[in-house]
Protein backbone atom coordinates (compact mmCIF):
# COMPACT_ATOMS: atom_id res chain seq x y z
CA UNK A 1 0.00 0.00 0.00
CA UNK A 2 1.24 3.52 -0.82
CA UNK A 3 1.95 5.23 2.57
CA UNK A 4 1.99 8.66 0.90
CA UNK A 5 -1.65 8.24 0.04
CA UNK A 6 -2.52 7.65 3.71
CA UNK A 7 -0.61 10.77 4.72
CA UNK A 8 -2.59 12.78 2.17
CA UNK A 9 -5.83 11.55 3.72
CA UNK A 10 -4.60 12.33 7.27
CA UNK A 11 -3.47 15.80 6.15
CA UNK A 12 -6.83 16.46 4.50
CA UNK A 13 -8.64 15.34 7.68
CA UNK A 14 -6.46 17.50 9.95
CA UNK A 15 -6.98 20.49 7.63
CA UNK A 16 -10.73 19.98 7.59
CA UNK A 17 -10.83 19.60 11.42
CA UNK A 18 -8.80 22.81 11.85
CA UNK A 19 -10.97 24.88 9.51
CA UNK A 20 -14.28 23.53 10.79
CA UNK A 21 -13.08 23.77 14.43
CA UNK A 22 -11.98 27.40 14.09
CA UNK A 23 -15.28 28.29 12.42
CA UNK A 24 -17.17 26.68 15.31
CA UNK A 25 -15.06 28.60 17.85
CA UNK A 26 -15.68 31.87 15.92
CA UNK A 27 -19.43 31.24 15.85
CA UNK A 28 -19.33 30.30 19.55
CA UNK A 29 -17.59 33.58 20.45
CA UNK A 30 -20.25 35.54 18.61
CA UNK A 31 -22.94 33.80 20.65
CA UNK A 32 -21.42 34.71 24.02
CA UNK A 33 -23.53 37.13 26.05
CA UNK A 34 -22.56 40.75 25.34
CA UNK A 35 -24.63 42.56 27.90
CA UNK A 36 -22.14 42.73 30.69
CA UNK A 37 -23.25 45.04 33.43
CA UNK A 38 -20.23 46.84 34.75
CA UNK A 39 -20.39 49.36 37.54
CA UNK A 40 -17.87 52.09 38.07
CA UNK A 41 -17.50 54.71 40.74
CA UNK A 42 -17.94 57.30 37.98
CA UNK A 43 -21.45 55.95 37.37
CA UNK A 44 -22.34 56.69 40.97
CA UNK A 45 -20.86 60.19 40.67
CA UNK A 46 -22.89 60.82 37.52
CA UNK A 47 -26.02 59.46 39.16
CA UNK A 48 -25.53 61.72 42.20
CA UNK A 49 -24.87 64.78 40.05
CA UNK A 50 -27.82 64.10 37.75
CA UNK A 51 -30.07 63.63 40.76
CA UNK A 52 -29.01 66.96 42.27
CA UNK A 53 -29.29 68.78 38.93
CA UNK A 54 -32.76 67.36 38.32
CA UNK A 55 -34.03 68.27 41.77
CA UNK A 56 -32.59 71.81 41.56
CA UNK A 57 -33.81 72.32 37.99
CA UNK A 58 -37.36 71.61 38.99
CA UNK A 59 -36.97 74.24 41.74
CA UNK A 60 -37.98 71.47 44.08
CA UNK A 61 -35.13 72.11 46.46
CA UNK A 62 -35.85 75.80 46.93
CA UNK A 63 -39.55 75.03 47.41
CA UNK A 64 -38.72 72.38 49.98
CA UNK A 65 -36.28 74.65 51.79
CA UNK A 66 -38.81 77.48 51.82
CA UNK A 67 -41.35 75.28 53.57
CA UNK A 68 -41.18 75.60 57.31
CA UNK A 69 -42.17 71.98 57.91
CA UNK A 70 -39.99 68.89 58.01
CA UNK A 71 -38.47 69.33 54.56
CA UNK A 72 -35.76 66.83 55.48
CA UNK A 73 -38.40 64.09 55.52
CA UNK A 74 -39.82 65.30 52.19
CA UNK A 75 -36.37 65.25 50.65
CA UNK A 76 -35.67 61.80 52.13
CA UNK A 77 -38.79 60.39 50.48
CA UNK A 78 -38.01 62.16 47.20
CA UNK A 79 -34.57 60.53 47.05
CA UNK A 80 -35.89 57.22 48.34
CA UNK A 81 -38.45 57.15 45.54
CA UNK A 82 -36.16 58.27 42.75
CA UNK A 83 -33.12 56.10 43.52
CA UNK A 84 -32.88 52.32 42.98
CA UNK A 85 -33.42 50.26 46.15
CA UNK A 86 -29.83 48.97 46.13
CA UNK A 87 -28.40 52.48 46.42
CA UNK A 88 -27.80 54.09 49.79
CA UNK A 89 -27.74 57.87 50.02
CA UNK A 90 -26.73 60.66 52.35
CA UNK A 91 -27.50 64.27 51.54
CA UNK A 92 -26.46 67.52 53.16
CA UNK A 93 -27.50 71.06 52.28
CA UNK A 94 -25.61 74.20 53.18
CA UNK A 95 -26.59 77.84 52.84
CA UNK A 96 -23.77 79.95 51.43
CA UNK A 97 -23.78 83.57 52.44
CA UNK A 98 -21.46 86.52 52.32
CA UNK A 99 -20.06 87.37 55.72
CA UNK A 100 -19.20 90.89 56.80
CA UNK A 101 -15.52 90.18 56.10
CA UNK A 102 -16.27 89.49 52.46
CA UNK A 103 -15.86 85.73 52.85
CA UNK A 104 -18.38 83.02 52.13
CA UNK A 105 -19.71 81.18 55.15
CA UNK A 106 -21.39 77.77 55.08
CA UNK A 107 -24.32 77.02 57.32
CA UNK A 108 -25.63 73.47 57.52
CA UNK A 109 -29.37 73.54 56.98
CA UNK A 110 -30.63 70.02 57.56
CA UNK A 111 -31.58 69.52 61.19
CA UNK A 112 -31.76 65.75 60.75
CA UNK A 113 -29.69 63.42 58.54
CA UNK A 114 -31.20 62.86 55.11
CA UNK A 115 -30.02 59.29 54.68
CA UNK A 116 -31.16 55.69 54.39
CA UNK A 117 -27.87 54.25 55.66
CA UNK A 118 -28.41 52.32 58.87
CA UNK A 119 -25.57 51.32 61.16
CA UNK A 120 -26.16 47.63 60.45
CA UNK A 121 -25.92 48.24 56.69
CA UNK A 122 -22.51 49.88 56.85
CA UNK A 123 -20.63 46.64 56.16
CA UNK A 124 -22.76 45.97 53.07
CA UNK A 125 -21.47 49.04 51.23
CA UNK A 126 -19.29 48.06 48.28
CA UNK A 127 -18.36 51.49 46.93
CA UNK A 128 -19.44 55.09 47.22
CA UNK A 129 -19.11 58.40 45.39
CA UNK A 130 -20.15 61.99 46.00
CA UNK A 131 -21.26 64.96 43.93
CA UNK A 132 -21.84 68.57 44.83
CA UNK A 133 -24.17 71.06 43.19
CA UNK A 134 -24.49 74.81 43.67
CA UNK A 135 -27.98 76.15 43.17
CA UNK A 136 -29.64 79.52 43.56
CA UNK A 137 -33.19 79.95 44.79
CA UNK A 138 -35.49 82.52 43.15
CA UNK A 139 -34.75 84.99 45.97
CA UNK A 140 -31.03 84.82 45.19
CA UNK A 141 -29.93 82.66 48.14
CA UNK A 142 -27.10 80.33 47.15
CA UNK A 143 -27.09 76.77 48.46
CA UNK A 144 -24.61 73.93 48.21
CA UNK A 145 -26.00 70.41 48.10
CA UNK A 146 -23.76 67.39 48.61
CA UNK A 147 -25.07 63.94 47.81
CA UNK A 148 -23.18 60.74 48.58
CA UNK A 149 -24.38 57.55 46.97
CA UNK A 150 -23.24 54.08 47.98
CA UNK A 151 -23.87 50.78 46.27
CA UNK A 152 -24.58 47.74 48.40
CA UNK A 153 -22.96 44.40 47.68
CA UNK A 154 -24.92 42.50 45.06
CA UNK A 155 -26.54 45.72 43.88
Amino acid sequence: MDRRGQFRIIEALVTAVLVVGSMMIAVGIQRMPRFWITYETEDLEDMAFNMLAEIADQALLSRLLDSKGSWETDLFWTLNTMLPPTIYFNMSIYKMSLSSGGNISLEALNRAPITNIQQENADRIAESASATYVFTSPDGTVYLAALTLARSRGG
Binding site: I25, A26, T38, N103, I104, V134, F135, L144
Partner: protein, 276 residues
Protein backbone atom coordinates in the same frame (compact mmCIF):
# COMPACT_ATOMS: atom_id res chain seq x y z
CA UNK B 1 7.74 12.09 4.11
CA UNK B 2 6.94 14.63 1.42
CA UNK B 3 7.27 18.08 3.04
CA UNK B 4 4.94 19.62 0.41
CA UNK B 5 2.12 17.63 2.00
CA UNK B 6 2.22 19.89 5.11
CA UNK B 7 1.22 22.94 3.07
CA UNK B 8 -2.57 22.41 3.42
CA UNK B 9 -2.17 22.11 7.21
CA UNK B 10 -0.14 25.34 7.39
CA UNK B 11 -2.76 27.13 5.26
CA UNK B 12 -5.50 25.72 7.46
CA UNK B 13 -3.68 26.92 10.59
CA UNK B 14 -3.35 30.44 9.11
CA UNK B 15 -7.01 30.44 8.09
CA UNK B 16 -8.06 29.27 11.58
CA UNK B 17 -5.95 31.99 13.16
CA UNK B 18 -7.54 34.64 10.94
CA UNK B 19 -11.05 33.37 11.72
CA UNK B 20 -10.60 33.23 15.48
CA UNK B 21 -8.75 36.57 15.66
CA UNK B 22 -11.40 38.38 13.63
CA UNK B 23 -14.14 36.81 15.76
CA UNK B 24 -12.39 37.96 18.94
CA UNK B 25 -11.91 41.46 17.55
CA UNK B 26 -15.58 41.71 16.61
CA UNK B 27 -16.51 40.52 20.08
CA UNK B 28 -14.21 43.03 21.77
CA UNK B 29 -15.65 45.90 19.74
CA UNK B 30 -19.19 44.85 20.61
CA UNK B 31 -18.55 44.75 24.37
CA UNK B 32 -16.34 47.86 24.50
CA UNK B 33 -17.95 50.47 26.78
CA UNK B 34 -19.80 52.94 24.58
CA UNK B 35 -19.33 56.10 26.59
CA UNK B 36 -17.51 59.30 26.05
CA UNK B 37 -14.65 60.00 28.37
CA UNK B 38 -15.79 62.44 30.95
CA UNK B 39 -14.61 63.86 34.16
CA UNK B 40 -15.68 66.16 36.96
CA UNK B 41 -15.25 69.22 34.72
CA UNK B 42 -18.42 68.21 32.87
CA UNK B 43 -20.37 68.49 36.12
CA UNK B 44 -18.82 71.87 36.92
CA UNK B 45 -19.68 73.31 33.51
CA UNK B 46 -23.23 71.96 33.56
CA UNK B 47 -23.71 73.37 37.05
CA UNK B 48 -22.21 76.75 36.08
CA UNK B 49 -24.36 77.07 32.98
CA UNK B 50 -27.60 76.23 34.79
CA UNK B 51 -26.99 78.22 37.95
CA UNK B 52 -25.54 81.26 36.18
CA UNK B 53 -28.91 81.65 34.46
CA UNK B 54 -30.71 81.27 37.80
CA UNK B 55 -28.57 83.83 39.64
CA UNK B 56 -28.93 86.37 36.82
CA UNK B 57 -32.70 85.91 37.00
CA UNK B 58 -32.69 86.29 40.79
CA UNK B 59 -30.42 89.35 40.58
CA UNK B 60 -32.72 91.02 38.02
CA UNK B 61 -35.69 90.32 40.30
CA UNK B 62 -33.76 91.87 43.17
CA UNK B 63 -32.78 94.92 41.08
CA UNK B 64 -36.29 95.64 39.80
CA UNK B 65 -37.97 95.20 43.20
CA UNK B 66 -35.36 97.37 44.89
CA UNK B 67 -35.72 100.03 42.20
CA UNK B 68 -39.50 100.09 42.63
CA UNK B 69 -39.12 100.35 46.40
CA UNK B 70 -36.40 103.03 46.48
CA UNK B 71 -36.36 104.72 43.07
CA UNK B 72 -32.56 104.66 43.28
CA UNK B 73 -31.20 103.09 40.10
CA UNK B 74 -27.51 103.06 41.05
CA UNK B 75 -28.13 101.72 44.55
CA UNK B 76 -30.43 98.99 43.21
CA UNK B 77 -27.88 97.98 40.60
CA UNK B 78 -25.16 97.78 43.23
CA UNK B 79 -27.26 95.58 45.52
CA UNK B 80 -28.03 93.20 42.66
CA UNK B 81 -24.37 93.15 41.64
CA UNK B 82 -23.49 92.07 45.18
CA UNK B 83 -25.78 89.06 44.62
CA UNK B 84 -23.78 88.18 41.50
CA UNK B 85 -20.51 88.67 43.35
CA UNK B 86 -21.70 86.46 46.22
CA UNK B 87 -22.69 83.75 43.77
CA UNK B 88 -19.29 83.92 42.09
CA UNK B 89 -17.50 83.42 45.42
CA UNK B 90 -19.94 80.71 46.51
CA UNK B 91 -19.57 78.77 43.28
CA UNK B 92 -15.80 78.93 43.46
CA UNK B 93 -15.95 77.68 47.04
CA UNK B 94 -18.39 74.90 46.10
CA UNK B 95 -15.77 73.42 43.77
CA UNK B 96 -12.72 74.61 45.68
CA UNK B 97 -11.00 71.26 45.12
CA UNK B 98 -10.78 71.97 41.40
CA UNK B 99 -9.16 75.44 41.61
CA UNK B 100 -11.70 77.39 39.61
CA UNK B 101 -11.07 80.80 38.08
CA UNK B 102 -14.48 82.32 37.48
CA UNK B 103 -15.25 85.73 36.04
CA UNK B 104 -18.52 87.54 35.46
CA UNK B 105 -18.51 90.58 33.23
CA UNK B 106 -20.73 92.57 30.93
CA UNK B 107 -19.52 93.77 27.57
CA UNK B 108 -22.77 95.62 26.99
CA UNK B 109 -25.65 94.61 24.74
CA UNK B 110 -28.52 96.22 22.83
CA UNK B 111 -31.66 94.71 24.33
CA UNK B 112 -34.30 96.39 22.16
CA UNK B 113 -34.09 98.95 19.34
CA UNK B 114 -35.95 102.26 19.29
CA UNK B 115 -39.44 101.80 17.87
CA UNK B 116 -42.89 103.30 17.70
CA UNK B 117 -46.36 101.80 17.92
CA UNK B 118 -49.97 102.85 18.31
CA UNK B 119 -51.99 102.68 21.49
CA UNK B 120 -55.74 102.75 21.05
CA UNK B 121 -57.49 105.11 23.49
CA UNK B 122 -61.28 105.16 23.73
CA UNK B 123 -63.21 107.48 26.05
CA UNK B 124 -67.01 107.02 26.02
CA UNK B 125 -66.97 105.70 22.48
CA UNK B 126 -64.56 108.26 21.03
CA UNK B 127 -61.55 106.31 19.79
CA UNK B 128 -58.16 107.76 18.99
CA UNK B 129 -54.85 106.14 18.15
CA UNK B 130 -51.86 107.56 19.91
CA UNK B 131 -48.46 106.95 18.32
CA UNK B 132 -45.92 106.29 20.99
CA UNK B 133 -42.15 106.43 20.53
CA UNK B 134 -40.44 103.70 22.52
CA UNK B 135 -36.80 104.45 23.32
CA UNK B 136 -34.30 101.66 22.69
CA UNK B 137 -32.78 99.90 25.66
CA UNK B 138 -29.17 98.88 25.93
CA UNK B 139 -27.05 97.69 28.81
CA UNK B 140 -23.76 99.55 28.88
CA UNK B 141 -20.45 97.73 29.19
CA UNK B 142 -19.62 97.19 32.84
CA UNK B 143 -23.29 97.16 33.84
CA UNK B 144 -25.48 94.11 34.27
CA UNK B 145 -28.97 95.59 34.60
CA UNK B 146 -31.12 98.26 33.05
CA UNK B 147 -34.76 99.12 32.63
CA UNK B 148 -36.97 101.48 30.66
CA UNK B 149 -40.24 102.13 32.42
CA UNK B 150 -41.31 105.57 31.26
CA UNK B 151 -43.22 104.59 28.16
CA UNK B 152 -46.23 102.36 27.36
CA UNK B 153 -43.67 99.72 26.40
CA UNK B 154 -41.68 98.90 29.53
CA UNK B 155 -38.73 96.54 29.72
CA UNK B 156 -36.46 95.22 32.46
CA UNK B 157 -33.30 93.41 31.40
CA UNK B 158 -30.10 91.81 32.66
CA UNK B 159 -27.11 90.62 30.71
CA UNK B 160 -23.84 89.02 31.77
CA UNK B 161 -21.18 86.75 30.40
CA UNK B 162 -19.29 84.13 32.36
CA UNK B 163 -15.85 82.68 31.78
CA UNK B 164 -14.48 79.70 33.64
CA UNK B 165 -11.10 77.98 33.92
CA UNK B 166 -10.83 74.67 35.77
CA UNK B 167 -7.15 74.83 36.52
CA UNK B 168 -6.74 71.44 38.24
CA UNK B 169 -8.21 69.59 35.27
CA UNK B 170 -6.46 71.72 32.64
CA UNK B 171 -9.62 73.13 31.13
CA UNK B 172 -9.36 76.77 30.13
CA UNK B 173 -11.55 79.27 28.33
CA UNK B 174 -15.10 77.97 28.75
CA UNK B 175 -17.52 80.87 28.46
CA UNK B 176 -21.19 81.60 28.04
CA UNK B 177 -23.55 84.53 28.25
CA UNK B 178 -27.15 85.02 29.21
CA UNK B 179 -29.78 87.71 28.75
CA UNK B 180 -32.93 87.84 30.84
CA UNK B 181 -35.75 90.28 30.23
CA UNK B 182 -39.42 90.99 30.83
CA UNK B 183 -41.46 93.36 28.63
CA UNK B 184 -44.85 94.95 29.15
CA UNK B 185 -46.79 96.74 26.37
CA UNK B 186 -49.96 98.71 26.96
CA UNK B 187 -51.96 98.25 23.77
CA UNK B 188 -55.41 99.68 24.42
CA UNK B 189 -57.48 101.61 26.97
CA UNK B 190 -61.26 101.73 26.79
CA UNK B 191 -62.94 103.88 29.40
CA UNK B 192 -66.74 103.91 29.76
CA UNK B 193 -68.34 106.40 32.17
CA UNK B 194 -71.79 104.79 31.90
CA UNK B 195 -70.40 101.54 33.31
CA UNK B 196 -67.91 103.39 35.48
CA UNK B 197 -65.12 101.08 34.41
CA UNK B 198 -61.95 101.05 32.33
CA UNK B 199 -60.63 98.15 30.35
CA UNK B 200 -56.84 98.12 29.96
CA UNK B 201 -55.27 95.74 27.49
CA UNK B 202 -51.61 94.84 27.68
CA UNK B 203 -49.19 92.12 26.59
CA UNK B 204 -46.33 90.63 28.53
CA UNK B 205 -43.42 88.53 27.29
CA UNK B 206 -40.06 87.24 28.45
CA UNK B 207 -37.08 85.43 26.90
CA UNK B 208 -39.07 82.19 26.64
CA UNK B 209 -42.05 83.78 24.90
CA UNK B 210 -45.44 84.89 26.15
CA UNK B 211 -46.06 85.21 29.88
CA UNK B 212 -49.31 83.40 30.54
CA UNK B 213 -49.45 82.80 34.28
CA UNK B 214 -50.20 86.22 35.69
CA UNK B 215 -52.98 86.67 38.18
CA UNK B 216 -54.43 89.68 39.98
CA UNK B 217 -51.73 89.60 42.63
CA UNK B 218 -49.04 90.04 39.95
CA UNK B 219 -50.49 93.27 38.54
CA UNK B 220 -50.67 96.71 40.17
CA UNK B 221 -52.22 99.77 38.53
CA UNK B 222 -51.68 103.36 39.58
CA UNK B 223 -53.63 106.31 38.19
CA UNK B 224 -52.22 109.77 38.94
CA UNK B 225 -50.01 108.23 41.61
CA UNK B 226 -52.81 106.43 43.49
CA UNK B 227 -53.24 102.68 43.41
CA UNK B 228 -56.56 101.54 42.00
CA UNK B 229 -58.31 98.26 42.71
CA UNK B 230 -58.12 95.70 39.98
CA UNK B 231 -61.56 94.12 39.56
CA UNK B 232 -60.65 91.40 37.11
CA UNK B 233 -57.73 90.13 35.08
CA UNK B 234 -58.38 87.99 32.01
CA UNK B 235 -55.83 86.19 29.89
CA UNK B 236 -56.65 86.46 26.17
CA UNK B 237 -53.81 84.36 24.77
CA UNK B 238 -50.44 85.13 23.18
CA UNK B 239 -49.33 86.99 26.31
CA UNK B 240 -52.34 89.35 26.15
CA UNK B 241 -54.32 90.40 29.23
CA UNK B 242 -57.36 92.55 29.94
CA UNK B 243 -57.43 94.35 33.28
CA UNK B 244 -60.70 95.86 34.49
CA UNK B 245 -60.70 98.68 36.99
CA UNK B 246 -63.79 100.19 38.57
CA UNK B 247 -63.28 103.80 37.59
CA UNK B 248 -63.22 105.92 34.45
CA UNK B 249 -60.14 107.71 33.19
CA UNK B 250 -60.59 111.34 32.28
CA UNK B 251 -57.71 112.95 30.39
CA UNK B 252 -55.27 114.22 31.32
CA UNK B 253 -54.02 111.39 33.54
CA UNK B 254 -50.94 109.30 34.09
CA UNK B 255 -51.39 105.58 34.38
CA UNK B 256 -48.73 103.11 35.46
CA UNK B 257 -49.00 99.34 35.29
CA UNK B 258 -46.54 97.23 37.24
CA UNK B 259 -46.25 93.51 36.58
CA UNK B 260 -44.28 91.10 38.70
CA UNK B 261 -43.90 87.65 37.09
CA UNK B 262 -43.47 84.25 38.71
CA UNK B 263 -39.68 84.72 38.86
CA UNK B 264 -40.09 87.90 40.88
CA UNK B 265 -38.93 90.18 38.03
CA UNK B 266 -40.87 93.42 37.86
CA UNK B 267 -41.55 95.67 34.88
CA UNK B 268 -43.47 98.90 34.65
CA UNK B 269 -45.15 100.71 31.75
CA UNK B 270 -46.54 104.24 31.88
CA UNK B 271 -49.01 106.08 29.72
CA UNK B 272 -49.83 109.76 29.61
CA UNK B 273 -53.50 110.09 28.68
CA UNK B 274 -53.51 113.64 27.31
CA UNK B 275 -56.51 115.44 25.90
CA UNK B 276 -54.88 115.65 22.47
Amino acid sequence: MNRRGQLPIILALILSGILITSALLTYKVSVFPKRAEQSEWVHVILNAEEDFHRILQAALANFTQEYIATGNMTGSQRKAEIKLETWKLAFTLGYSGLSLRLNLKSNGVDVSPESSYKVSLTYDGNATDKTVCVPGLSIAAGHFFNCSWNSPCGISAAYASISLDIIKQGLYGWNSSSIIFLTLNITSIISDSSLNETRIEFTCSDGQGCVNRLNKENVTIHVNGSQVDLNRLEYTGMGGYIALIGQTLNPPYTMTITVRDGRGIAVRASLEGGSG
